[in-house]
């Protein structure tokens, strides 16, 4: 089945041509169509958030920061963070690739709760509209962290709109996670045991657990913040004995695990890419699978490393520091197992693999600098400097966005039924890698030299590094535009994609590209381990033989 080649003018029914018109999209309960709704909306928010970043980098070209006023600058970096985190990174891989792939990877017709899935998208849109209206009404200037008492007492009232927007978007994230967990538990096709699942599914499972357990805490926190703002009295108010540091505890109880909501799915994508383009089973499958779960669990024990200089007790600082180091263990297990998979693999350098290499390098840089920040004493020096900015951009942009783009290229033929232009794609991958490093590596140096974050002006001696960073940002921005253009181009003009263009294992490659509405012509039965490329070769050979016999006989 995996070798049958559809001719370009094949009029086969699939999920894209099953129905037409706006209604068929806005009221769809097909997980694949909902994934495309998300794809459109998160791309929109990515470019909104990106344009805020452009303004920030423009302003930092000159030491006096004359491009923007200080207040405007504060609003731009706040909106950049909020839009990118809540409306791009958190939904990116889960809501687009997860939505599209999880039912297919487990051999199901849809997610367990299709209508809930559509509701999640609408909640996301409502949250997004609120965020944009907060921006249009004058913006929020608290930083994406909403720290009290500034947010609750002194800043402008848009904090409430923005907070409720993030609250609503949070429910979208919760419901998506809930849907995934139930689907992975209850909808697996016959023969698909836990240890035959693709590692992407394991990663998404771990992510969903974080979404379920962490997001409600930010929900109640933002609600309490909004109440404090509206009623002028609340539980974080120091005037009545409230403790603003408690807000930071609550905020980071969610927001630190949220970092893993962003990176774990990317790790799942990378596991798929490493196996497929090395044509080898992942080295230490079980360890990679369990390390996802371990990261999810540990992520809830480390939030206090954001509070090292906030007045938290020194004892708590020590404990959080030690626990933070422990996250390095499962993360390193993953990196070592990926690189061990490369060993004696037959590696091909298709575009997804280039993003994969980019991810592994950049994530390692981000992770190792994270260890510096987790050290209590070092963090006192580096806290709230550009070192932190560079660190988390290496994780979120170098890690999560690279993983997302790698995954988009990998599954694009499956999603649209069309190939993208390979030359352009490799070119863009290189541009993005170069632009990224030029943007953020100088920020490590700036931070180490002591440039604080969130200031619109800086001493003149930092200018060279800042100009490098801004130059890198323009290259990076260009790098993001190229895939945007050729993806859209390929939807019409791209070469039609066969069911399994990469020779990958996994159930999603056993169905035509693009898949039919209910994913499979008949419910598949799994008889082999994950990433069993020999079984795939045997099946392909058998299919070829069958075809030959049919033609001859």
């Amino acid at each position: 089945m995996s070798t049958s080649n559809p001719s370009p003018n094949d009029r086969r029914q699939h999920y894209l041509n099953a129905a037409y018109g706006l209604r068929s999209w806005l009221l769809t309960v097909d997980h694949k169509r909902i994934a495309l709704l998300y794809l459109g909306s998160i791309t929109f928010f990515f470019f909104i958030g990106g344009s805020f970043a452009v303004m920030i980098r423009m302003n930092l070209l000159t030491p006096d920061g004359s491009f923007l006023q200080a207040e405007t600058y504060n609003k731009f970096f706040t909106m950049h963070g909020l839009v990118m985190i809540f409306f791009f990174l958190i939904p990116s891989i889960p809501a687009v690739l997860g939505n599209f792939l999880i039912p297919m990877m487990v051999g199901a017709k849809d997610l367990a709760f299709p209508r809930l899935n559509l509701l999640s998208w609408y909640l996301y849109i409502i949250g997004g509209v609120m965020a944009l209206s907060a921006a249009a009404l004058g913006g929020v200037d608290t930083g994406w962290t909403f720290y009290t008492p500034y947010s609750s007492t002194y800043s402008n009232g848009n904090v409430v709109i923005m907070g409720v927007g993030a609250f609503v978007a949070g429910f979208s994230s919760i419901l998506t996670g809930l849907n995934f967990i139930v689907t992975i538990h209850k909808m697996r096709c016959p023969g698909l045991t836990w240890f035959r699942l693709p590692l992407f599914v394991w990663a998404m499972y771990a992510t969903s657990v974080i979404q379920i357990l962490g997001t409600p805490v930010i929900a109640i926190t933002l609600l309490l913040l909004a109440a404090e703002r509206i009623f002028h009295v609340g539980i974080f108010d120091p005037r009545i004995g409230g403790d603003p540091v408690l807000f930071q505890h609550f905020f980071w109880f969610y927001s630190h695990p949220a970092v893993y909501i962003m990176i774990l799915p990317a790790m799942g994508v990378i596991s798929e890419l490493v196996a497929t383009f090395s044509r080898k089973r992942i080295f230490g499958y079980n360890l990679v699978a369990f390390s996802s779960v371990a990261i999810a669990m540990l992520s809830f024990l480390v939030w206090g490393h954001h509070l090292f200089v906030s007045g938290q007790s020194i004892y708590a600082g020590l404990v959080f520091s030690v626990l933070s180091f422990m996250v390095a263990i499962p993360s390193a297990i993953k990196v070592f197992n990926w690189t061990a998979t490369f060993y004696r693999g037959s590696i091909s350098y298709d575009t997804p693999m280039m993003y994969c290499f980019g991810f592994i390098g950049l994530f390692t840089m981000g992770g190792v600098t994270g260890l510096l920040l987790a050290s209590l004493a070092v963090d006192v020096h580096l806290h709230d400097t550009y070192f932190v900015i560079a660190h988390f951009h290496y994780i979120m942009v170098g890690g999560a966005v690279m993983g997302y783009l790698g995954g988009m290229h990998f599954w694009w033929p499956k999603i649209t039924g069309r190939m993208y232009p390979e030359i352009w794609a490799r070119f863009a991958a290189v541009i993005i890698f170069v632009g990224f490093n030029l943007t953020f590596f100088p920020q490590f140096m700036l931070g180490y030299l002591g440039m604080p974050r969130r200031y619109h002006a800086y001493p003149a001696e930092f200018q060279v590094l800042n100009v490098m960073s801004t130059a890198g940002a323009s290259i990076l921005g260009l790098g993001y535009l190229i895939p945007m253009i050729y993806f859209i181009w390929s939807m019409r003009y791209g070469k039609p994609a066969p069911p399994n263009p990469w020779g990958a294992t996994g159930l999603e490659w056993r169905t035509p590209s693009p898949p039919p509405t209910e994913n499979f012509e008949e419910i598949p039965v799994v008889t082999e381990e994950a990433y069993d490329f020999e079984a795939l070769a045997r099946r392909d050979a058998a299919a070829l033989r069958n075809e030959g016999e049919l033609q001859n006989g």
Binding site: P190, T193, L246, F300, L301, S313, A316
Partner: protein
């Protein structure tokens, strides 16, 4: 973790709990409510809070096991109920540990 896929008949249809179980649980909950009120008026020094919490936890456990049928549910439900409680304890416990230890190590004089 390796439960059979798709066909899990064991817990499919609803378990019918005998009526007397429900009434016994109800009676126990009422008695425990009365107890917690009475105990609150007795001076147990620092033990008042632990006792009140222990009674509340007992009541909650009864509701979860019998009214919510967890006793008769599959192991996944049990795992998730325990996980929920565990993460609640982590959140309360670790946050509280910060506040309880704020006085343990004083900040060096030069910083104040």
């Amino acid at each position: 973790m390796s439960e059979p896929t798709h066909h899990e008949k064991s817990h499919g249809s609803q378990h019918i709990v005998p009526l007397k179980v429900y009434f016994a649980v109800f009676a126990a909950l009422m008695v425990l409510t009365a107890t917690t009120v009475c105990v609150a008026y007795v001076n147990l020094d620092w033990l008042n809070l632990p006792v009140a919490l222990a009674i509340a936890i007992t009541k909650a456990t009864l509701v979860i096991l019998f009214f919510m049928h967890v006793k008769y549910s599959g192991h996944m439900v049990k795992v998730y109920v325990v996980a929920g409680v565990l993460f609640l304890i982590i959140m309360i416990g670790i946050t509280l540990s910060d506040y309880m230890t704020r006085g343990w190590i004083s900040v060096p004089r030069g910083w104040q």
